[in-house]
């Protein structure tokens, strides 16, 4: 693995009364594709700007390969940035934009030329060397920005929402290309985004941030399946989330079978979990829509570990590969259920608007989010 590891240690940054970063600590490993994910204003861009050197923290330090880089100006850090709005030099051609960092270092012309052409080839822009940035499309501009940031051979590449100005299809393509680039070059990527699907699809690890605080750091899978807080559960993907109270917790196989009372559902439900919880503890219960099963008839097998509710389809949303149902349960609460259409459908989905249905899920498919302090 090339690249440097980046350690953010107890960093805080306030703008007046607004705390952009509140005692943030993150350890990013060598060669990792690391994402900072959160809604706008959560402090992710501020953190990136502190790593790049455009902003400095009120307290705390940033270590690059074990060395504190806070006192260094941006031009002395082995870190390069891809900006959200590309930030290409309007007076220079594509070639000269990419050559800019090398010209500053007075690299000899022949060496410079091969290197610039190599990097422009890497981002598939060989045909546009002499064009001015104003003549390029958004996707092409972003490729120039990426080539320009990489040509200095930085040890860490920072990407500040690089795809947010592009349309959906192009974003998908560039995302895959970025992933390939990362595999090819092998340096550390720190990727800032507010788009959870982008972060989930390319990252090795993700830090979810909100209001200047890191809520959870983990692999995309950990973050999706085992959210640390209510906010993470709601922000990443879609979910059904209810406040709940623990009524019983007993050993079950290698796990614990917990019974939760959910006021909103006016029912008790069962969840298996690794942790033993105390009776009366306040928690949140979450279950993802794709883990719920929707059937027109009552499921035949109703065991100890199955939670079952009946209701009426209030709104089916068909989107080709799946249908999302909003089901109003008999107790009045609306839950989201996703059904994948894995088989060929001749006459449309079996379950339609206003149908009487059963919603069920296994105790293993729910997840208890511990409410730490609120």
């Amino acid at each position: 693995m090339k690249g440097f590891d980046v350690t953010v240690k107890d960093v805080s940054r306030a703008y007046g009364a607004f705390k952009a970063l509140d005692n943030v600590s993150i350890e990013i490993k060598k060669g990792e594709f690391f994402s900072l994910l959160g809604p706008s204003g959560c402090g992710k861009t501020t953190l990136l700007r502190i790593i790049a050197g455009f902003d400095s923290p009120d307290v705390g330090s940033v270590l690059l390969d074990g060395r504190n880089i806070i006192p260094l100006p941006p031009d002395k850090r082995q870190v390069n940035t891809v900006f959200q709005n590309y930030a290409l030099f309007p007076h220079l051609s594509v070639y000269e934009n990419v050559a800019f960092p090398l010209r500053l270092k007075h690299i000899p012309e022949t060496k410079l030329d091969t290197k610039v052409r190599d990097y422009l080839h890497l981002v598939q822009l060989d045909a546009h060397l002499d064009k001015k940035p104003s003549m390029l499309s958004g996707g092409q501009k972003q490729r120039v920005a990426i080539a320009r940031a990489l040509i200095n051979e930085p040890n860490v590449l920072l990407l500040d929402e690089p795809l947010s100005a592009l349309d959906a299809k192009l974003r998908q393509n560039l995302l895959v290309e970025l992933d390939h680039l990362h595999d090819q070059i092998g340096i550390t990527f720190i990727y800032v985004t507010h788009d959870q699907s982008e972060a989930l699809s390319v990252s090795d690890r993700i830090a979810v941030m909100n209001q200047g605080v890191v809520l959870q750091v983990g692999s995309p899978y950990e973050i999706y399946e085992s959210p640390a807080t209510d906010f993470v559960a709601r922000f990443i993907g879609e979910t059904n989330l209810f406040p709940a109270v623990v009524t019983k917790c007993e050993a079950y196989d290698k796990y614990f079978m917990t019974t939760l009372e959910i006021p909103e559902l006016q029912a008790e439900i069962k969840v298996t979990d690794y942790d033993e919880l105390k009776q009366g503890q306040q928690v949140s219960f979450t279950v993802r829509p794709e883990k719920l099963k929707i059937t027109g008839h009552k499921p035949s097998r109703v065991g100890k570990d199955i939670n079952l509710f009946s209701g009426v389809v209030e709104e089916p949303i068909y989107s080709g590969f799946q249908t999302k149902y909003y089901v109003r349960l008999d107790n009045g609460t609306v839950v989201k259920v996703q059904m994948q259409h894995t088989n060929y459908m001749d006459e449309g989905p079996d379950i339609e608007w206003k149908d009487q249905v059963y919603v069920s899920w296994s105790a293993e498919d729910g997840y208890i989010v511990e409410v730490i302090d609120k």
């Binding site: 050197g53 031009d75 870190v79 030099f89 007076h91 500053l104 940031a149």
Partner: protein, 304 residues
């Protein structure tokens, strides 16, 4: 398109529709395969003597006839308006017998270039300062800087004259230089401000990020990217300064006659055909400059 079998009313209707052509033009009978809308479908007024063509010719005539008359008479053999045959006598007089005129031309050039340079420098700095820094008198300065542009020239001229006499600056080349710098400032300021309006601040960060020091960022990124605004401001200032008569008239002194002043003084003793000859020389010179600058101006426009 229309066939004789159609009743006349239908034909009228058809014409009315053609005035507002839609992209959904159905193919006429007998046309097979994909049918393209006929060219010039939208711009129908292509008749030779249509309203727009007549207006075009009139306007061009109005603008250029005086010039052609001047150029024509510059080759006249006599002084009057009567045509007396081709001759280059006035050109001879212009080139070899008008030392005074050339000195005035030299004065004009000297003042135009020096005042434009100073105005460009100050105006650009002012634009940068007002755009990038926040301070108390900001809007006040912004508004007053446009005053010289909207005030009648006579008033500026008189007020300058009063000012120079009050502070005992002798009228001459220096006072003209100061006056020209003053009225050129707002134009440069305006043009550079417009350029800065589109300036993307993140390119400064990008330059620092890519390894440029603050100095290198200024020299290699900031200045080149606002250069088109600065250049057009300078060219504008040169033009304004070269042609100014009113303000110069008030603040000039002995020995500091500029070209417009000199031409005016010549006219007072009857129009000399030397002026006609001079006009043609200037027209030629400016045309040559415009043609050779065209490429340069185009690249400036492309980079903006």
């Amino acid at each position: 398109m229309t066939t004789s079998t159609k009743p006349p009313q239908r034909e009228e209707q058809h014409k009315a529709v053609k005035l507002f052509p839609s992209r959904l033009v159905t193919a006429p009978k007998g046309v097979q395969g994909p049918y393209k809308t006929p060219r010039n479908h939208v711009f129908r007024d292509h008749r030779k003597f249509g309203f727009s063509n007549i207006m075009l010719v009139l306007v061009v005539l109005f603008l250029f006839t005086p010039l052609f008359v001047v150029v024509g008479y510059s080759f006249n053999a006599t002084k009057g308006m009567r045509w007396a045959g081709l001759s280059l006598v006035w050109y001879e007089k212009l080139l070899f017998g008008s030392a005074e005129l050339w000195r005035a031309f030299g004065n004009s050039l000297l003042i135009a270039i020096s005042s434009s340079m100073v105005a460009t420098f100050l105006g650009s700095m002012a634009a940068v300062g007002i755009k990038w820094y926040k301070f108390k008198a900001r809007t006040y300065i912004q508004i007053t800087s446009f005053l010289p542009m909207v005030l009648p020239e006579v008033i500026i001229g008189i007020s300058m004259l009063i000012f120079f006499t009050a502070v005992k600056i002798p009228l001459g080349m220096f006072s003209i230089f100061v006056a020209h710098t003053t009225f050129n400032l707002p134009f440069v300021f305006l043009l550079v401000s417009a350029r800065l309006e589109e300036f993307d601040f993140s390119i400064i960060e990008a330059a620092r990020d890519l390894g440029a020091t603050e100095r290198q960022t200024l020299l290699k990124v900031i200045i080149p990217s606002i250069m088109p605004g600065v250049t057009s401001g300078f060219l504008m200032a040169v033009t304004m300064s070269l042609e100014d008569f009113v303000i110069t008239f008030f603040v000039s002194g002995p020995g500091s006659t500029t070209l417009p002043l000199y031409v005016y003084s010549m006219i007072r003793y009857g129009v000399s055909p030397v002026i006609n000859a001079l006009s043609f020389v200037l027209i030629l010179g400016i045309m040559l400059m415009a043609l050779s600058f065209r490429r340069f101006l185009k690249t400036i426009a492309a980079s903006s």
